[in-house]
């Protein structure tokens, strides 16, 4: 193997890692947007709350990292559930207003976190065996990034299972396709929306538990993820598979562009490509089933 093949292989692997991060960030948003049609601008802050939940669990109770991940899910899902009950529920017929209201929510969450935990960076401890680098034939990747790739696969399997193999999933899909008809069959659509929102928020919490290790934990850490996650969802069209494909495509492209140019221009180029792509396919790769309200 000469050097350039190694470089290309390296950047493809790195692209896969970037893709897994995109997907983990976008998966909760995909569910919330794809089923409830809510533009949740507070998604980044849900991620941030997930990271802080892990930090708090570790710092105050000494909970091991792997146990922190499901705890982050539960905590952020609960917060999401309350926000849905208090605010989002009243705005389902005004999609633009959900966008604005959730932006207000994100301001409150950032500042609230800052008041409680302070604005200095926090760090999450991870198990030692994930801190190493794995090398294979000149290709190297941090073990934790490989863990994130597997986590992305696990999460998407989990979501697929919930959506297609459980009663709750059937109800969600029924409400997404036709709310009135679902209601006529005795499904409490309000309740379904609340739990869907909480589920999506919980997944963002898991994302935060993972990203808190990759980056330092700050009250503002969510801001960077929300735009990226939205681009994935919009490009994917709101469906789970669409988001997965969009993550892999943009992740790999970004990694390849970054190898040729540099990181910033790679990101800029991706943005431009997405704009051009949406010009020709505004509904995204795979549009979410059913009529949108």
């Amino acid at each position: 193997m000469d050097i350039s093949t190694i470089a290309i292989a390296n950047s493809l692997i790195l692209g896969l890692s970037i893709a897994s991060i995109f997907l983990v960030a976008a998966i909760g948003l995909t569910i919330i947007y794809g089923t409830a049609g809510v533009i949740n601008m507070a998604h980044g802050e849900f991620i941030m709350l997930g990271a802080y939940s892990v930090y708090a669990m570790q710092a105050y109770f000494g909970v091991p990292y792997f146990l922190c991940i499901p705890i982050a899910f539960v905590i952020v899902a609960a917060i999401g559930f309350v926000i849905e009950k208090l605010l989002i529920q009243h705005l389902y017929h005004r999609p633009l207003d959900t966008l604005l209201a959730t932006w207000g929510v994100s301001l409150v969450l950032i500042q609230g976190t800052r008041l409680i935990f302070g604005s200095d960076p926090k760090y999450i401890q991870m198990p030692g065996f994930l801190a190493s680098n794995i090398e294979l034939g000149g290709i190297s990747l941090a073990a934790f990034r490989i863990f994130v790739i597997f986590a992305a696969l696990a999460l998407i399997t989990l979501v697929w299972f919930v959506f297609y193999k459980t009663d709750f999933g059937i109800k969600i899909r029924a409400v997404t396709q036709n709310r009135e008809m679902a209601a006529a069959f005795g499904i409490n659509s309000k309740q379904v929306y609340s739990f869907t929102f909480a589920f999506g928020a919980g997944l963002a919490g898991v994302a935060g538990a993972l990203f808190g290790v990759l980056n330092i934990v700050l009250p503002t850490m969510g801001m960077g993820y929300v735009v990226q996650a939205f681009l994935i969802v919009v490009t994917g069209g709101g469906a789970l598979l669409g988001s997965a494909i969009a993550s892999v495509a943009t992740g790999e492209l970004q990694s390849i562009f970054a190898m040729i140019l540099n990181d910033t221009f790679a990101r800029f180029l991706i943005f431009i490509l997405i704009v051009v792509f949406l010009r020709f396919r505004p509904q995204g790769l795979i549009s979410a089933g059913g009529g949108r309200r």
């Binding site: 605010l87 966008l99 994100s106 800052r114 735009v227």
Partner: protein
């Protein structure tokens, strides 16, 4: 005949005149240089809020990336001012620090003040025309469009940071001198600077108001309610949307250029997502459907931030966030909507009283 005084056009114009008369009389009352500069900056924020009200309130195009035109306009003006203080043939110090030997080609036009200002306004407007044209022709609208503007905004911010040798990266450009137009210096701490911003605000607000009341404005408002129906009536919706979006871009660019004159500083912070969404918050709290109220919203929020914000530094963002949530939840029309409702109630009561008088005068017979 309109019963609700809020919808009375003559009264609306009168309110606009009164508000602007008050704003225009400020330099006659005070000559505190710091206050004038601060109020002029509020004027810039007001202009931004008006521009958002035009495209969001009238056209229904939620634009979370108004910082694009604002930032580009500010950079254009800062570049013009930088070159004014530059001896011919030299390059700005930060370029030399970044190992550039010659002036980059796209800086050349800014030697000429007039051309520089025109570019500061034209480049953002053209950008909006192209980007808006692409998006609206593809019928990207509503939340999707909002997300796309946000994406472009953050992309621009990263590019301006990355192009360190050409834009001085995160540090931004701080021209050493005030803007000179011919022999006249626009000192940012003077009543002249205030008048300039005031004139821009006056011009653009009244132009937007006239536009809203024109046939063009009628079509724009119609497409906000139902673009599909407007399309069926034979209008090219994309053209109208692009036009409104680009016009609001021009206003934001003018605001950006004035901002650079007032602060003598520009940095990628002007492209911050939080700032652009802040503009939307001003317009929403004031009332996005009214140009004037959107502008007042900017004054209220920014004023409260400067004066109340110092008192509870940490809780200010919390207060802003909560009030924004409450406005969206309970007052979708902002303060303007509140005033409209109250005036409507008053008109209704008057009407029923009149009816009652009429009935009793007739002897209440049917």
């Amino acid at each position: 005949m309109e019963k609700n005084l809020y919808h009375n056009k003559k009264l609306q114009w009168l309110t606009y005149l009164v508000v602007f008369a008050v704003l225009g009389s400020v330099p006659l009352i005070t000559d505190d240089a710091f206050l004038l500069n601060q109020l002029a900056t509020y004027g810039v924020y007001g202009l931004l809020a008006v521009s958002i009200s035009l495209c969001w309130g009238s056209g229904g195009i939620l634009n979370l990336g108004q910082g694009i035109a604002f930032g580009l306009g500010a950079y254009g003006m800062a570049m013009t001012m930088q070159m004014q203080s530059q001896a011919p043939g030299t390059i700005p110090p930060f370029m030399a620090n970044n190992a550039l030997e010659e002036l980059p080609i796209f800086w050349e036009p800014f030697w000429n003040t007039g051309l520089g200002i025109v570019l500061a306004l034209l480049v953002p407007t053209l950008f909006y025309l192209v980007f808006g044209g692409l998006m609206f022709a593809a019928r990207v609208s509503g939340p999707f469009f909002a997300i796309m503007t946000l994406a472009i905004l953050s992309a621009l911010a990263t590019v301006f940071v990355a192009l360190q040798p050409y834009t001085n990266g995160v540090n931004g450009i701080s021209p050493p001198g005030a803007l000179m137009i011919g022999e006249v210096m626009i000192d940012p701490y003077s009543s002249l600077a205030y008048w300039v911003v005031f004139a821009l605000l006056l011009f653009f607000t009244f132009a937007a108001k006239l536009l809203n009341q024109s046939r063009f404005g009628l079509v724009v408002r119609a497409l906000k309610d139902d673009p599909e129906r407007v399309r069926f009536l034979g209008y090219n919706v994309a053209v109208y949307e692009t036009a409104v979006y680009a016009l609001s871009g021009l206003m934001a660019a003018a605001a950006g250029a004035s901002f650079a004159v007032l602060t003598q500083y520009v940095s990628p912070a002007q492209f911050e997502v939080g700032f652009s969404i802040g503009i939307v918050i001003w317009a929403a709290i004031g009332g996005r459907n009214s140009l004037l109220w959107a502008m007042l919203g900017a004054f209220m929020v920014q004023g409260a931030q400067s004066y109340a914000g110092d008192a509870f530094l940490n809780t200010w963002i919390l207060i802003l966030g909560f009030s924004f949530i409450l406005v969206v939840r309970f007052l979708p029309g902002g303060f303007a909507g509140l005033v409209e409702t109250i005036l409507g109630r008053v008109a209704e009561r008057k009407e029923t009283e009149e009816d009652f008088d009429l009935e009793s005068a007739k002897g209440a017979t049917k």
